[in-house]
């Protein structure tokens, strides 16, 4: 199959590479760019482990074909600063167990927090849970993940 020139920004850095059009963004990130922080749990858009932000929106990178990412801005977990409140909160609250869903979960939560800062409203928890509902976690039961997102948003901890 013929290759095409993919030009995109990943974590603020411009990347140009020749690649085949049937490759997924997930494959580009992991295999061509060596950004293995983005995980895969199904490559069928079922689990959410491969979530990245494309132009600020959370997407399953396994469902984005390379040409669809052309000219786009991609944020992967490697582009989230280590001192980011979400990273600190995930570590501090015990929201990370096996860690395999964590990068995707953090990016889905980031997309939510970016568009919903901290307005107090009763539905906030529900909305946060909805925002990560496309990201499956087999370890935590999600309680500590919600807790982490709350803490990152500067909300009061609901810990016992």
């Amino acid at each position: 199959m013929t290759k095409f020139l993919l030009d995109l920004k990943v974590n603020g850095r411009r990347r140009r590479l020749r690649t085949r059009p049937h490759k997924t963004l997930l494959e580009i990130l992991r295999e061509d760019l060596g950004l293995t922080g983005t995980k895969h749990g199904c490559e069928l858009g079922e689990c959410g482990a491969c979530t990245v932000l494309l132009n600020g929106k959370s997407v399953y990178s396994c469902l984005v074909l390379a040409p669809q990412a052309r000219g786009g801005e991609v944020l992967t977990i490697e582009g989230v600063p280590p001192e980011h409140p979400l990273i600190r909160a995930f570590v501090a609250t015990g929201a990370v167990q096996c860690g395999y869903c964590t990068p995707g979960m953090i990016l889905a939560a980031k997309a939510f927090l970016d568009r919903n800062p901290t307005q107090e409203r009763t539905s906030w928890d529900r909305e946060a849970l909805e925002a990560v509902s496309g990201n499956l976690c087999r370890c935590t039961g999600y309680a500590k993940i919600l807790e982490a997102v709350r803490v990152a948003a500067g909300k009061k901890s609901r810990r016992r």
Binding site: R30, G34, L35, T36, G37, T38, K39, H40, G41, C42, E43, L44, E46, C47, A49, T76, I77, E78, V80, P82, I87, F90, V91, T93, G94, V96, Q97, C98, G99, Y100, C101, T102, P103, I106, L129, E130, V132, S133, G134, N135, L136, C137, R138, C139, T140, G141, Y142, A143, K144, I145, L146, R160
Partner: protein, 752 residues
């Protein structure tokens, strides 16, 4: 411990690894559930440009299995295939695409045989059996305690249950990367048991064990699904040797469903006899397991069917009969709770029915029959610390159980159940006298502390426990301690991550190693007058690096009867669960409103980890209760080997979990700690079943509790039939005459 590296995406899992010259491996799998292999022609695949190696069954003929008694698998099927998805050939090529194309070029001819796809078919035994010796894999029959009940029973009840099979579904798909260096095999694998995998690799390749190095990188969840040695481990190793280059095989999600080794479907029957006042006199428990195509941990699972009922309840006279059959489906094995969630479901749902008929509260009936702390059970298990009574009282109180039970409006209900689990099996898979865990600590010239532990952190937090134990003893912050884990070349022996053994055993070994180091250091500085870090600097100045070791071996010998190796543990965790549900009788949908959970953890070493384990176990249990089933079409095809079809709870369905931690301070546990990884799954499923009965008056005697089954039971109720869904009776199985193990054996001493 490693949460930060995972959260920023730096932690490396097996599939994240890449080596120069690495090839990609893929596995060809059987399309038939049961067929003789007539021929396998790989010539075309071999001549495809970019293909570097091809292997079939003949290339890896040595049989193996995780248990010494079940060496019944080969990496690739030899004469016949026994399930859809069984590996038959593997290729390594320059790219994944080429490997995939090569698989399509392998010409496999099969002679299909009638498949054995259910317990009924396996028992009936028509047609060619799954294995030459027949479909019956194992049948055990044991009678414990009094030959007859101590008093004349006033009430007897018998119930049948069915527990559907389900699978672990770790989010990380299994992956293995093999390379050979100067005749030595190095394998990176997403495994829970690097040392067992090393043993199997050495056996299959005819190498001494020290010519094999197995490294478990970060493992993205296991739950028992990464315990067995797998075809991809062996094929990657073989292909790498043949091609002379590193080979990586990463499974697809679909393939993970075929690896399986998950929960056995179980058909169970329980009969108990009682005094009218609610004292349990006698129990007979029968179970029949649908094992799938190979042995795996099946023999152990068969014994576990009757293993842990007595750690929660006193049973004067106890008979257990259990059997496992082979069927043409992916092999079942150990999933969180091993062989105990099925019988726990049956037992706790049965007790709910008994309580109702005796006119006693479910909590009261349980309290009357609790197994006490510091006692020996009828099946010879030594119970040390037990916070079970406190768990029951606290969970009942916090859930408002006594105020709500049978008092909530129609459609809403509350149910109660108990659980108990081991803190590591006292008997290793390969019987020997060596410690089960060893930990080594090195203090280097600059005072740096490195801990070497063979235990594998699969996300449950064992690294945290090991490091915390060392930090606590030495009095240094955990951040100052470096950990090297799960590498058979660099770390001392550890049995691996299963049977909830790591906190207890590796934790104790770490504690001992740290105590030894402390003593060594202060001996060199003439007493404990200064903080450890200062003393350590002085001590290493005197003689360079210092090293210390610690180990753990359970202080128990199993009793003298066949099967006594399954069940003994240095300690048991205990828990109680109250589930409150809201059911819609029109749609059959159930919403869990709240789970109240009390767990006897011994001592919580790291509270967020403990809470996370319980919340995660409740999550997995609710999946098993309502959604998860690994089932098959009549053709032998899996009904849905993907996450869209095999559903579990998302963040939106997970109910609130109210946690209560009971600290019974186990005398043998590290700092008093016990397990929390598996036990909390157990009581949730029956608690939910009992809650559904409280809500709707229907008995869900079969998992999962789907809307269809709930509507079916409601329909039966409205027609005046028995308002339940579940099996009848129990199949006719040729159990052997039971071995009787009386209440006390002459001359027996129970070691403490």
């Amino acid at each position: 411990m490693d949460a930060f590296s995972k959260a920023v995406g730096r932690a490396l899992y097996a599939d994240d690894l890449r080596l120069p010259g690495m090839l990609y491996g893929k596995i060809l799998r059987s399309p038939h559930p049961h067929a003789r292999i007539l021929s396998l022609d790989t010539r075309q695949a071999e001549s495809l440009p970019g293909v570097r190696a091809v292997v079939t069954g003949r290339g890896l003929p040595v049989p193996y299995g995780i248990l010494p008694v079940s060496q019944d698998e080969t990496a690739l099927a030899m004469e016949k295939v026994r399930y859809v998805g069984e590996p038959v050939a593997a290729v390594a090529a320059d790219t994944e695409e080429t490997a995939g194309r090569a698989l399509q070029l392998i010409r496999a001819e099969y002679d299909p045989l009638p498949p054995v796809l259910s317990l009924e078919e396996a028992i009936r035994g028509k047609g060619e059996p799954v294995h030459a010796k027949g479909n019956l894999h194992k049948a055990v029959s044991l009678k414990f305690g009094d030959a007859n009940p101590p008093e004349e029973p006033e009430y007897t009840r018998e119930d049948a249950f069915f527990y559907e099979g389900n699978t672990h579904l770790p989010l990380e798909e299994h992956s293995a990367l093999a390379l050979w260096k100067k005749g030595r095999l190095v394998l990176y694998s997403s495994t829970q048991t690097p040392f067992h995998l090393r043993k199997i690799l050495a056996k299959v390749f005819g190498l001494p064990e020290d010519a094999v190095r197995v490294i478990a990188p970060k493992v993205g969840g296991g739950f028992g699904g990464k315990l067995d040695p797998f075809a991809h481990d062996l094929c990657a190793s073989k292909l790498a040797r043949d091609a002379g280059r590193p080979v990586k095989i990463t499974l697809t999600r679909e393939e993970v469903f075929y690896c399986h080794r998950g929960r056995h479907p179980a058909w169970m029957n329980i009969r108990t006899s009682w005094k009218k006042t609610g004292e349990l006199l006698e129990m007979r428990f029968r179970s029949c397991l649908d094992g799938g195509a190979y042995g795996s941990f099946g023999v152990v699972c068969t014994y576990y069917q009757g293993g842990l009922q007595p750690t929660t309840y006193r049973i004067p006279s106890y008979t257990v009969e259990s059997a496992r059959y082979f069927t043409n489906k992916p092999p079942c094995g150990p999933k969180r709770g091993h062989g105990t969630p099925q019988p726990r479901f049956a037992l706790e749902a049965h007790l709910d029915k008994v309580a109702e008929e005796l006119g006693l509260g479910p909590v009261e009936l349980r309290l009357k029959n609790l197994a006490p702390p510091d006692s020996t059970t009828v099946n010879r298990l030594r119970v040390t610390s037990s916070g079970l009574r406190e768990c029951v009282e606290k969970a009942a109180e916090a859930s408002g159980f006594r105020d709500k039970f049978r008092k909530l409006p129609y459609g809403r209900g509350i149910g109660f159940a108990l659980g108990s689990y081991l803190c590591g099996a006292a008997v290793p898979i390969y019987w020997n006298e060596d410690p089960h865990s060893r930990v080594r600590i090195r203090l280097d010239a600059k005072g740096g502390i490195t801990v070497f532990s063979g235990a594998t952190d699969i996300g449950q937090g064992s690294d945290t426990v090991v490091v915390w134990a060392v930090a606590e003893i030495l009095g240094v912050p955990p951040e100052k301690i470096r950990l090297v884990a799960a590498d058979t070349d660099r770390t001392p022996f550890d049995l691996g991550t299963y049977s909830s053994r790591v906190t207890y055993m590796a934790g104790n070994a770490a504690r001992e190693a740290a105590e030894n180091l402390l003593e060594k250091v202060y001996r060199r500085t003439g007493g404990r007058r200064m903080p450890f870090e200062k003393a350590a600097r002085i001590a290493v100045e005197k003689e360079g690096a210092l090293e210390s070791w610690g180990s753990y071996k359970p202080p128990l010998k199993p009793a003298n009867f066949k099967g006594s190796g399954v069940g003994p543990s240095p300690a048991y965790s205990f828990c109680a669960c109250a589930a409150q549900v809201q059911c819609d009788p029109r749609t059959g949908r159930v919403r869990v409103e709240r789970i109240t959970f009390a767990h006897d953890i011994g001592r919580a070493i790291h509270r967020p980890s403990v809470e996370g384990q319980i919340e995660g176990a409740v999550h997995m249990a609710l999946g098993e209760a309502f959604l998860e089933e690994q089932t098959f079409h009549p053709s032998g095809l899996h009904r849905g080997p993907g996450i869209l079809d095999y559903k579990f709870l998302s963040s939106l369905e997970m109910p609130e979990v109210k946690l209560i931690l009971i600290e019974s301070k186990d005398p043998g546990g590290p700092f008093g700690a016990k397990e929390v990884g598996q036990g909390p799954l157990l009581p949730v499923i029956p608690a939910v079943a009992n809650a559904i009965y409280d809500a709707l008056g229907i008995r869900m005697d079969k998992t999962p509790f789907t809307p269809e089954n709930i509507l079916l039971a409601l329909e039966r109720k409205s027609c005046g039939r028995i308002p339940r869904v579940g099996p009848e009776g129990f199949p006719d199985i040729p159990f052997p005459e039971p071995t009787h193990i009386p209440a006390s054996l002459p001359g027996e001493t129970v070691p403490c």
